[in-house]
């Protein structure tokens, strides 16, 4: 059975969701499934029946966070960025740095050392919470 990741990228042409490892380690393929951040490379397509899937292309209400990723150095090469932004959107409002670290522990960024990502999240109003 196809993975959710393949359906998004190949059947829908939504290439904003990236594949980094194919084994749920890097988080580049993170999407929101019923509002929860999941690795779409680990989700068989049948499992999403009846649930809302949000990819970076369909994300609304997070403009401030996305802009902050550009301004504050949250994105460098950008390959982890869509997944990182979706994971950040799923962080409960009012989380502190340690909670943010825990929430993003499944999303690997090799460029930033994560400092720019924390700056972006705080600059956008900690944390941003999508509507």
């Amino acid at each position: 059975m196809k993975r959710l990741l393949d359906v998004l990228r190949e059947d829908f042409g939504l290439t904003g969701t990236k594949e980094g490892c194919g084994e749920g380690e890097c988080g580049a393929c993170t999407v929101l499934l019923g509002g929860e951040a999941v690795n779409s490379c680990l989700i068989p397509f049948a499992q999403v029946r009846g649930l809302a899937v949000t990819t970076i292309e369909g994300l609304t209400g997070a403009r401030a966070l996305q802009d902050a990723f550009v301004r504050e150095g949250g994105a460098q090469c950008g390959i982890c960025t869509p997944g990182m932004i979706l994971a950040a959107v799923a962080i409960p409002a009012g989380a502190d740095l340690q909670q943010i670290r825990r929430s993003l522990a499944g999303n690997i960024c090799r460029c930033t050392g994560y400092e720019g990502i924390y700056r972006s999240i705080f600059a956008a109003g900690s944390p941003p919470a999508a509507d």
Partner: protein, 702 residues
């Protein structure tokens, strides 16, 4: 308002945060096939026979006989075949290529390959083949040791490290216009261009290389993309259809380059009061099966091997040898993180031997303006070793923290380092890089072969050009890195994109401004027609370098850095947890402070991985942990707060005084962390400092 020095809006930002940016795997062409590689499973031997174990109808299959030109990856020496020709020298060496329009059908493409095995070389010290040997000599070593009160010796080892860009290597080759167009995730479009011209026996204008949005490189997309591009191009020409080849993570880790492992031995003569009188350093690096970039990695390694310390009597001898593993290659720092690790852990051991404070020992010996390096280079006024050390020690309250943590299961340590910007003096002259600037109706368009791989190349180049032309930053555009329209600005490596290419662009802009005179760009275009200014690298007159004797000005400029690491040891598991890391870096000028800080933060995190976590396990010449589950890089929970301080001491020949920044930040964390571990009383001389090594070293030390 000037653009340089301000955090202007990045040119390359928007598409990365909304999913619009197209990376290589996001692209598709009509009629496109998918390609895969059949690789060797042994370390060394002759290929006796190759038999398909599937029905090959409908598949395109290629081997060495299908190479239209010379079967090599042209780089330094043409010793690496693109496809194995009767013989393999490492596991995962490419033997056959297969393409099919259905990617899943490629899973059926299995071959039975018989080999006559040969005994592999696994130990670089016992290798019969030396790829490159370099010696640096200064003064008289015998005299230095004769005057020394104490001699301190030690051996230090660093291991392979995987770049682990999150986007794996990938390309698409499109046969068109009687040649080939190659799209790919890559750092150096002109390296790929050069390799394809030789491999495909095509005229240069029939090969076009276009960089697509690139999801990280760190050196891992410096030389390897030439190999992958060659594979895709061979298949595409044979099939006469576009061919896409995207590695999955396992293949990327098994087959592509890693950081060179090193063994560095130091023998140092010092006086009782801490003056270094003689340095004898031996560097051995493991090159892997083919020469690729190893001579240049060794060069940077030996040129940084003394650390940032003055000494009149020095000998540095380095060699890089062949082993039967995939070739090791470029990785951020390029030889310097290995030799600086050894230098800085050794300094700590000298301090211990003499009973001296480690900061004091460094203060006594560090390079100051006017001092000469091992190659005889006289350091300029921008030499900032003392400043970065002073700032780091003050900012972390180092002396007090060191006393407070003594005897606990926490420790604090530091490292002092420097990093040459750009190719060696001789290297930049040989590259003869070019950059162009085209006048547009309301400003200018930058044409360079330098690539954006996350570091903000387009932004900083546009800032430099905007200020030199005296126009707003948003009126400067940047062309895509496409060899059909940009000149060869040299590779995007070696911390040279800002200092070297940025300077050429600044010269273009100043010439353009002079040509414009009182006219606006639109007026000029109306009166005179199109204007493109192209300039070439101009060697600062005072820089002299001799490649034969290894004497002279090795680099135009050096950045200077000091790291302080505080770590704690888990009492049960012996894992080392970094608590905080301070990185003070002197980089000439931060063209864009947030981007500059991003380079330091990111390089520091990779350095923490190099120090503590990242371990490539080789079994029978193959990476045994070639997946992200088992090869662990720092996550948010492994990366401590990174405190960055940028100091600016301008280099007269850099744009606005800027020096290089990309690589230096990765030089410092490993020795600072190992010195912090040493502060806990654990004598470790090898990284990564895994829990197992800490446990072992603790048993020996206590």
């Amino acid at each position: 308002m000037p653009a340089v020095g301000r955090n202007v809006l990045r040119k390359e930002g928007g598409g990365k945060v909304n999913g619009a940016a197209k990376y290589i795997d996001d692209l598709s062409f009509p009629g496109m096939l998918h390609g895969t590689t059949i690789r060797s499973t042994i370390q060394a031997g002759r290929i006796l026979s190759v038999r398909p174990e599937f029905d090959p109808s409908g598949f395109v299959v290629a081997d060495a006989r299908d190479v239209p030109g010379k079967n090599v990856i042209a780089l330094i020496e043409d010793d690496q075949p693109c496809l194995a020709d009767g013989r393999v020298r490492h596991v995962a060496e490419a033997i056959l290529l297969v393409a099919h329009e259905d990617r899943d059908a490629l899973l059926r493409a299995r071959f039975s390959i018989d080999y006559e095995r040969e005994p592999p070389v696994d130990d670089p010290a016992l290798s019969p083949r030396v790829f490159k040997e370099i010696s640096i000599e200064k003064g008289n070593l015998g005299r230095g040791f004769a005057r020394a009160d104490v001699v301190v010796e030690g051996e230090y080892r660093t291991a392979h490290q995987e770049q682990l860009y999150i986007e794996c290597n990938g390309v698409i080759a499109v046969p068109e216009n009687g040649g080939i167009t190659l799209y790919g995730s890559l750092q150096c479009p002109y390296y790929v261009h050069k390799a394809l011209v030789v491999l495909l026996a095509l005229p240069p204008d029939k090969v076009r290389v276009v960089q697509t949005e690139t999801g990280g490189g760190f050196g891992g997309k410096e030389e390897y993309p030439s190999m992958l591009a060659g594979h895709a191009a061979i298949l595409a020409l044979k099939a006469n259809r576009p061919v896409k080849m995207i590695y999955d993570r396992v293949e990327d880790m098994l087959a592509t380059t890693k950081r060179h492992p090193s063994i560095v031995r130091h023998r140092t003569g010092v006086t009782r009061d801490g003056r270094i009188l003689a340095m004898d350093i031996d560097v051995l690096m493991d090159g892997g099966a083919y020469l690729t970039l190893s001579p240049v990695v060794l060069s940077r390694g030996v040129l940084h091997a003394t650390g940032p310390y003055r000494c009149n009597d020095v000998r540095v001898h380095g060699r890089v040898t062949m082993t039967n593993t995939p070739p090791n290659g470029a990785f951020r720092g390029f030889g310097a993180p290995q030799t600086l690790f050894a230098a800085e852990v050794h300094m700590e051991r000298i301090a211990e031997t003499l009973g001296l404070d480690p900061v004091r020992l460094r203060e006594i010996n560090l390079f100051r303006p006017g001092d000469t390096t091992a190659t005889g280079q006289v350091l300029g006024a921008d030499c900032s070793a003392a400043e970065v050390l002073r700032e780091a020690v003050a900012r972390t309250d180092f002396d007090a923290r060191r006393r407070a943590l003594a005897g606990t299961r926490s420790g604090i340590g530091l490292s002092l380092f420097f990093h040459g910007s750009g190719f060696t003096g001789g290297g930049e002259v040989r590259l003869a890089s070019r950059a162009s600037l085209a006048l547009t109706p309301n400003g200018a368009r930058i044409l360079v072969g330098s690539t954006e791989i996350g570091q903000g190349t387009r932004t900083i180049h546009a800032q430099i050009v905007a200020d030199a032309l005296g126009i707003p930053y948003d009126r400067v555009e940047v062309a895509d890195a496409d060899t059909a329209c940009v000149p060869d600005s040299g590779p995007t490596v070696a911390s040279r994109t800002c200092m070297v290419v940025g300077k050429i662009l600044e010269n273009c802009a100043l010439e353009m401004k002079a040509r414009l005179g009182a006219l606006t760009p639109a007026q000029y275009l109306d009166v005179h027609g199109p204007l493109v200014v192209t300039r070439e690298y101009e060697k600062p007159e005072e820089l002299q370098w001799n490649d034969e004797t290894y004497r002279g000005d090795a680099y135009g400029a050096y950045g200077w850095g000091c790291n302080v690491a505080e770590v704690e040891r888990d009492p049960e598991t012996y894992e080392i947890r970094p608590v905080r890391l301070t990185s003070v870096c002197e980089i000439g000028k931060a063209i864009h402070p947030i981007l500059a800080a991003g380079q330091i933060e990111g390089g520091t995190a990779q350095g923490i991985g190099f120090a503590l976590l990242e371990e490539v396990v080789f079994r029978d010449g193959a990476m045994a942990n070639a997946q992200m589950t088992n090869y662990v890089v720092p996550t948010t929970l492994d990366t401590p707060p990174i405190d960055v301080v940028i100091l600016e001491s301008g280099y007269p020949h850099g744009p606005h005084g800027a020096k290089g920044i990309g690589e230096m930040p990765i030089d410092g964390p490993a020795p600072a962390i190992v010195n912090a571990i040493r502060h806990m009383g654990i004598d470790l001389r090898q990284i990564p400092a895994t829990a197992e090594r800490i446990l072992e070293a603790s048993c020996v030390s206590s």
